[in-house]
Symmetry: C2
Subunit: 115 residues, 2 copies
Amino acid sequence: MIKISADLVEYPNRYVFMVDMPGMKASEINLRVEDENIMVVTGERKREQRQQDDGVKYLRTERMVGKFLRIFSIPDNGNKDRISALCKDGVLSVTIEKLPPREWKEGKTIEVKSA
Amino acid sequence: MIKISADLVEYPNRYVFMVDMPGMKASEINLRVEDENIMVVTGERKREQRQQDDGVKYLRTERMVGKFLRIFSIPDNGNKDRISALCKDGVLSVTIEKLPPREWKEGKTIEVKSA
């Protein structure tokens, strides 16, 4: 398992998770929303070239490769039915719209009588 | 200074440095070739949104931001005049063509006489 770094940004009407995925394409990233307001990002980062290819030799390998799995909690007022994701420049952005603020219905006033 | 990870791959006719730059655009990366077969990559990684923007709040910040500087040695048989660079999917690839193998000129044979 390799480590992936993420930011969480709150906007007035949405949350955005920004996850570093250098070299990954959208088709290589799996994003699932589970029960209990859980979002799971999985995938595998591979080297661009295989060591065994003819005449290809890695002289240095600092970039981490391997499988990754990361679990994020969706904020309480995030709308699980309004989630979209985009991968660009090696960064995955997952946007979660906020639920509208709970509306307080006009209550019925109860007269407080004096005894 | 933030840390950046790099691989170095050797092909039959070229070397390729692969450098993770998630979220960075080509225009934000500086690449210089110096004397003594040195190549320098510099730049600054910034957050996509500024904290002080109206209504924007970073709830989590794991992704490293800040300036970076990394010095790479160009291999001895790398051609400093044939270097190209491309940034794609958050990975900077710097390709350095190899110099042609040194040719051994047909030497002159010296007869070894017995004393």
